[in-house]
């Protein structure tokens, strides 16, 4: 009999492990984790939010990486800068690389005749004899000057230096000085601006781009002598991810060891410890399998939240292990325990349905994961775990000191006014708490080291790189409309720059003028005979050889007959990508939104275009915001920080609504399960009060409540529900009461161990979760004991 039972246990365990392995394999093969914040956020409600979701994550400013090469002689660094730029230009992950290297061929040769349509020269001059004479006289002086050598190659084709004018127009407005042909800042570092194709807030893709950049640098000859410094939003998102993961891992190792020791101490059985981990592993895999089956992509934050919430499931095996009775089989023990455990699991699952109904993709995924996870862990605890646990165990009811602790708790006074006192205290603390209630700036939860911010400020100033927070948005029905609008507001913006409202602006029309402007310039070009005659007249008495300007005449002839330049044609040039990132088509384009992003209703019939102008050194946002009124809202300032914070606030209000519904569902479920409103109050009362008490204490301590605090509160409430349910249970058996206490103490200690460690973290997001859950567990435990209804009846039974 023992042999056959052992064989059955081993067989069942093997099947269980096999199922887990298969699930694991399935998950590993199908799971696609998205790190793009957009697939986690709720559907945007306002135009700004929609723009933010659609494009800003991939907007020009957020995709810029600032690169500095230092630690060697400037000549060496200049070589490295050129080498790195050449390598990155070959890499599809980067859409633009600039290092100050002056290339007169910033227009490909085929587009060169377009220079007369792109440069503003013809707005104020005509290519007539007078203008050409003046220009050529200057060129003679240029030729005789120290800069003469620079000019000779270009002079026959471009005597009015349009290419030079365009190069100046297209170079960043506040670029650093050029030494050895590349940008070198005051500290002697070579600087580069690199634009990634990936969105700035997609740490996964940014990580790839940055790894490629580092690899390119490491592949350069002589790179060992130099150092590579990176900055920019994309780099920051990678740093934060790495830093958070590193600390979470490190804390995780320590608390896991503590957790193992605690369980060994509590149950004195290594096999119980190992087998006790199986239900939660089953739950996690079941949740993941459900996610990958129903969703093509899972967001990283959803997973993080999900695993946090799944922490409740660790209670299930602990309850089973603690509630095994001497003389009863595992199965008999679990059967006695199951009604209550099922009530806890079912009510949690029903409550999480509210999250599913929220309509926010991130929250729906969270609900699917958590519900499947809890069910998986609960059902395996009920049906599989008792059958594989060893039949011999120590009844924890006899744990030394436990009886005394139980008596101590029972003897605590339980005044009826405790709920009133706690409620009043919570109200007072919430009213007098300092600071604002909500923290909407998710970035504050993962702050950057001051050193990185200083480096960023220094590089940004040196490179004149655009502001990450502000963008100027131009709305028009067509791409050309955006360019025309851009050209139209340029004088206003130039005036604002003069007034000091901002340091600089980069408008799309800086790269490509609207069609009307191009056409007007084209019409001003002289015909072949007129130009030849004008040249002859202009060069009279000058030492230029005859026919030296034939290439110039050829280009003007070509320019006169060219079809006007469109953004699509311009894209072939190195600067085309820059323009492409500033001109965005909206609506009717399924490519715009990433897969798995929320389905914003987009009217497919009406496409429109948006121009994104980057701003640098914004000193007076109000003056820029006033542009909106002057342009009927067609040009407006987008405050990315504000828009993203309003998104977070919208997200939170969805969570709060879901929570409200969840609480109602919970009340109904618990009342039905316990068949008594009074008993339901004894379970839900302590849980609710403790939750508000955590909130009040954190607020009193000056903590602003973020999404992460909310999720941690939900986890703590889930744990609190268990404590209250089990303390409320009437058994009339003192030994069973001691087992309940034992289970609860093990649960509380393990939660305190894991989350208490997180509370010491230096990273606010980890601290937020750790502190909230630790406080929650402590308050839930105390209140569910102090508000337990039947201490007297227990004592009566014991006597």
């Amino acid at each position: 009999m023992p042999n056959s039972s052992l064989r059955a246990r081993v067989a069942l365990l093997s099947v269980w492990l096999l199922v887990l392995a298969l699930l694991g394999l399935y998950v590993m093969r199908t799971l696609r984790v998205s790190t793009d914040l957009r697939s986690f956020m709720p559907p945007p409600a306002t135009a700004d939010q929609r723009l933010l979701m659609d494009q800003i994550g991939s907007g020009p400013g957020s995709r810029l990486l600032l690169v500095a090469l230092g630690g060697a002689q400037p000549e060496k660094l200049a070589d490295l800068s050129r080498g790195l730029a050449d390598a990155l230009k070959q890499d599809a992950r980067f859409s633009q690389v600039v290092n100050g290297d002056f290339r007169p061929d910033s227009l490909p040769s085929s587009l060169l005749p377009y220079r007369y349509l792109l440069s503003p020269t013809l707005d104020t001059h005509r290519l007539d004899a007078a203008y050409l004479h003046d220009q050529l006289q200057q060129r003679l002086e240029d030729l005789a000057s120290p800069a003469g050598g620079l000019l000779e190659t270009w002079l026959p084709r471009d005597p009015t230096l349009e290419v030079l004018k365009l190069a100046q127009r297209w170079s960043p407005p506040h670029a650093p000085t050029v030494r050895d042909g590349v940008w070198i800042d005051k500290q002697g570092e070579a600087l580069l601006l690199v634009q990634t194709r990936a969105a700035g807030f997609d740490p996964g893709a940014q990580q790839e781009a940055i790894a490629a950049l580092r690899k390119a640098f490491d592949g350069l000859p002589g790179h060992e002598a130099a150092t590579l410094t990176l900055s920019g939003p994309g780099y920051f998102s990678v740093v934060i991810n790495k830093q958070t993961r590193h600390q979470a891992d490190w804390i995780g190792y320590i608390s896991t060891i503590g957790f193992i020791l605690l369980l060994l101490l509590a149950y004195r059985s290594p096999s119980a410890l190992v087998l006790g981990a199986l239900p939660i592993a089953s739950g996690a895999l079941a949740g993941l399998a459900a996610l990958v089956t129903f969703y093509p992509q899972v967001h990283g934050i959803t997973l993080a939240f999900g695993f946090t919430l799944l922490g409740v499931a660790q209670e299930y095996p602990i309850r089973l292990l603690s509630h095994r009775r001497g003389g009863a089989s595992n199965l008999q023990s679990v059967r006695g325990l199951w009604p209550l455990l099922m009530t806890a699991i079912a009510s949690a699952c029903i409550a999480y349905l509210a999250f599913y109904a929220s309509g926010v993709p991130g929250l729906q995924q969270l609900a699917v994961f958590t519900i499947c996870g809890l069910l998986g862990a609960g059902l395996t605890t009920r049906y599989a775990l008792p059958r594989v646990l060893p039949q011999r165990f120590v009844d924890v009811a006899d744990t030394p000191g436990l009886a005394r602790f139980r008596r101590f708790l029972d003897n605590l006074p339980r005044p009826r006014w405790i709920p009133v006192l706690v409620t009043a205290g919570v109200a007072v603390m919430l009213i007098f708490a300092p600071g604002t209630f909500w923290q909407n700036n998710l970035a504050k939860l993962t702050p950057l080291p001051a050193k990185l911010l200083k480096t960023d400020a220094r590089l940004r100033a040196a490179l004149g790189a655009p502001d990450v927070r502000y963008l100027l948005v131009l709305d028009a029905p067509t791409a050309d409309g955006v360019l025309a609008l851009s050209e139209q507001v340029r004088p206003k913006l130039d005036a604002l720059v003069k007034q000091g409202a901002l340091d600089g602006v980069e408008l799309p029309s800086r790269y490509l003028p609207p069609r009307a402007v191009q056409r007007a310039r084209q019409r001003k070009l002289p015909d072949h005979d007129a130009l030849v005659a004008a040249l002859k007249q202009a060069t009279a008495g000058m030492p230029f050889r005859e026919d030296v300007f034939a290439p110039f005449v050829r280009d003007v002839d070509k320019a006169r007959a060219l079809p006007l330049l469109t953004p699509a044609m311009f894209e072939r040039s190195p600067l085309g990508q820059r323009l492409a990132s500033m001109l965005v088509r909206r609506g009717g384009n399924p490519q715009v939104r990433g897969q798995g992003a929320s389905g914003t209703p987009v009217t497919a019939s009406s496409t429109s275009w948006v121009g994104l102008a980057t701003l640098s050194g914004v000193h007076d946002p109000a003056a820029l915001a006033a542009l909106s009124a002057q342009t009927d809202g067609k040009v407006r300032l987008l405050d990315i920080k504000q828009a993203s914070e309003s998104l977070v606030a919208a997200y939170r209000s969805r969570i709060l609504k879901a929570l409200g519904v969840a609480i109602l569902l919970l009340i109904v479920t618990v009342s039905v399960a316990l068949r008594s409103l009074r008993r339901a109050w004894h379970v839900l009362g302590p849980m609710t009060l403790a939750t508000f008490l955590v909130l009040a204490v954190e607020r009193m301590a000056g903590i602003e409540i973020s999404l992460f605090h909310l999720v941690a509160l939900i986890l703590a409430a889930g744990l609190g529900l268990h404590y209250a349910l089990f303390f409320e249970r009437e058994t009339g058996d003192p030994a069973e009461q001691r087992r309940t206490l034992h289970a609860t103490v093990v649960c509380v200690l393990s939660a305190l161990l894991v989350f208490g460690m997180l509370a010491w973290s230096s990273i606010p997001v980890l601290r937020a979760i750790g502190l909230t859950v630790s406080l929650g567990v402590a308050f839930h435990f105390c209140l569910s004991i102090l508000m337990a209804p039947h201490a007297e009846s227990d004592r009566a039974a014991e006597e």
């Binding site: 030729l143 005789a144 800069a147 620079l150």
Partner: protein
Amino acid sequence: MMLALASAATWARAPETAVVDKPDALAPIAKLAQQPPTQVAFAEARFSALLSRPLVVSGQLSWEGGDRLQRHVDSPYVETTRIVDGEVSMHRAGRGTRHFSLDRAPPLKALLDSLVAVLSGDRARLSKVFTPRLDEDGGGQGWTLTLKPKSPRLARSLAHIRLDGDDRGLRCMLITEANGTLSVDLLGPLAARMPTQPTRANLTALCRHAE
């Protein structure tokens, strides 16, 4: 192109015989060293493939010490170019000031290197950027220092720089760019003797043969 220096007036010592092909073959160059600030008149003719006759300008060249040079043109128009620590600023009367980095004009940088090296007697600097060669005239009167760029990058724009001198100092500076453009600078007293119709031949003769 431009610049050349050394006041012939302050170059008064008799040169020792230049010994070519010996380790210190450039020793005579050290004798050209001067204390800044120093100034010299120049007249420059530039021969370019784009032009049917050379462009001629004249004025003053000044070395202010370090890597600071000034080229002031006073005829046929007024123009001042200053090179200060790698930054070139060019001011022309009525046309405003243009700034550009010295690195955008490699031949100009080479010229600065060669001139400052010669004027400060820094032969190491000369040998760092160029392969120098010193030839003496048969009569022992004059010498020619030919500087060929060492880096292939510089050689793409600059063919060579030639400095002509005699026992009284620098007479001429000839810069041949890679595309064949030649600038000849007559220095010091010679600057006043720019022919009305300069040719490569008559200028070379003027530089080589001291009267």
